[in-house]
């Protein structure tokens, strides 16, 4: 649990949501792909290059982020609760929302959206805290890496560059490999906290890098 005080002075307790809900949400919200054009590269070979400033693509991308931002509130709402009594100002505002047909009394995501969270920056902070508590995050990985304090020739191992490979994979694949590397079942890994999951990924990344560095000697 994490405590967070909003810009409006409301004290929140931030918990976690099942990792599988976040994975399901990510699978459901796939960003649009840009159109591509064939470009002649070196040696007469053609490559497909994305057209990132295509107007129709930018419209679809905007619509995607608007929907993603809105539905993220529904996703994380169950992990956020107000601690202590609600202020008179907040209660009055909730009554206003009800009077104007904008939120029912039991519509907690609407309360977060219309009243409790001051702006987009605060929304991002609260979403970030829920994700930190619930799943693998780069913040969690960085914290765990610092705590493990693994160095090579006096420099933190995570700062050493490894050569690239033709292979590419996403976060879910890396998390599954990290889980197996640390001896978790996938169910056990998903049931652990966000910091614990991040530590497993940090351990996996540092181990892989340390093994490679050792092999270079």
């Amino acid at each position: 649990m994490t405590e967070y005080i909003t810009k409006r002075g409301v004290k929140l307790e931030i918990g976690r949501i099942p990792r599988r809900e976040i994975d399901g949400f990510t699978l459901k919200h796939v960003p649009p792909e840009p159109p591509v054009q064939e470009v002649e590269a070196f040696g007469g070979i053609t490559e497909e290059m994305p057209i990132l400033d295509d107007p129709a693509y930018l419209e679809r991308l905007l619509a995607y982020y608007v929907k993603l931002g809105d539905e993220q509130i529904e996703l994380i709402a169950s992990a956020v609760r107000i601690v202590g009594p609600r202020s008179e100002v907040l209660l009055a505002e909730l009554e206003d929302l009800r009077q104007l047909g904008l939120a029912e009394d039991d519509d907690w995501p609407a309360h977060l959206r219309f009243s409790v969270l001051a702006d987009d920056e605060e929304l991002g902070t609260v979403v970030g805290l829920v994700f930190y508590n619930s799943t693998v995050t780069e913040k969690g990985i960085a914290e765990a890496s610092r705590a493990m304090a693994v160095t090579w020739m006096g420099q933190p191992v995570e700062g050493w560059k490894m050569p690239g490979t033709p292979g590419r994979y996403g976060q879910l694949f890396e998390a599954r490999r990290a889980a197996r590397h640390s001896g978790y079942t996938w169910e056990g890994f998903c049931g652990s906290t966000g910091p614990e999951q991040s530590a497993a990924v940090a351990f996996y990344r540092l181990s892989a890098k340390l093994d490679w560095l050792t092999s270079q000697k």
């Binding site: 419209e59 905007l62 619509a63 608007v66 929907k67 931002g69 809105d70 509130i73 009554e95 206003d96 009077q99 104007l100 047909g101 904008l102 609407a110 959206r113 219309f114 969270l117 001051a118 702006d119 987009d120 920056e121 929304l123």
Partner: protein, 138 residues
């Protein structure tokens, strides 16, 4: 704070509203484009049109309630009560005052909504720039 002159002669004072709230209400149109292309609303039929009209009402209520800072004058409140409306809630009374006594037509309502949204977007962009600058210097 920005101002918005109505055709009735009343000048409204505007303030930014929450972008997350506006996005949610725009999504209830079923299509984010609907607000930028309001003429598309006229082509809707049946349930889709009903949904869009309901979404417009909610968006207007939010903008009037939270994006306008002026309170209805006493004589306006008396008129609203005379037609059977409850003036006990300040924000609702403001929305009803503008809807029934000040705003001339749907076009003017759309312009008011648009003005508050532009103001809110400007504030969000300025706030994002400030955060980026303090992050760079900090």
């Amino acid at each position: 704070m920005d101002t918005f002159p109505l055709r009735s002669g009343t000048v409204l004072h505007l303030q930014p509203v929450r972008p997350a709230a506006v996005r949610h209400l725009l999504l209830q149109f079923g299509n984010v484009d609907m607000f930028e292309h309001p003429e598309a609303l006229l082509k809707l039929e049946g349930k889709a049109r009903g949904r869009a009209i309901e979404a417009t009402e909610k968006l207007y209520n939010y903008v009037a309630g939270w994006g306008v800072t002026d309170d209805p004058p006493d004589e306006a409140l008396a008129e609203l009560e005379a037609i059977g409306l409850d003036v006990g809630n300040e924000r609702r009374a403001r929305a009803d005052w503008l809807r029934f006594l000040e705003i001339e037509d749907d076009e003017e309502m759309g312009e008011l909504i648009g003005a508050v949204m532009v103001l809110s977007q400007k504030e969000t962009e300025e706030s994002t720039e400030e955060s980026a600058e303090s992050g760079e210097s900090g």
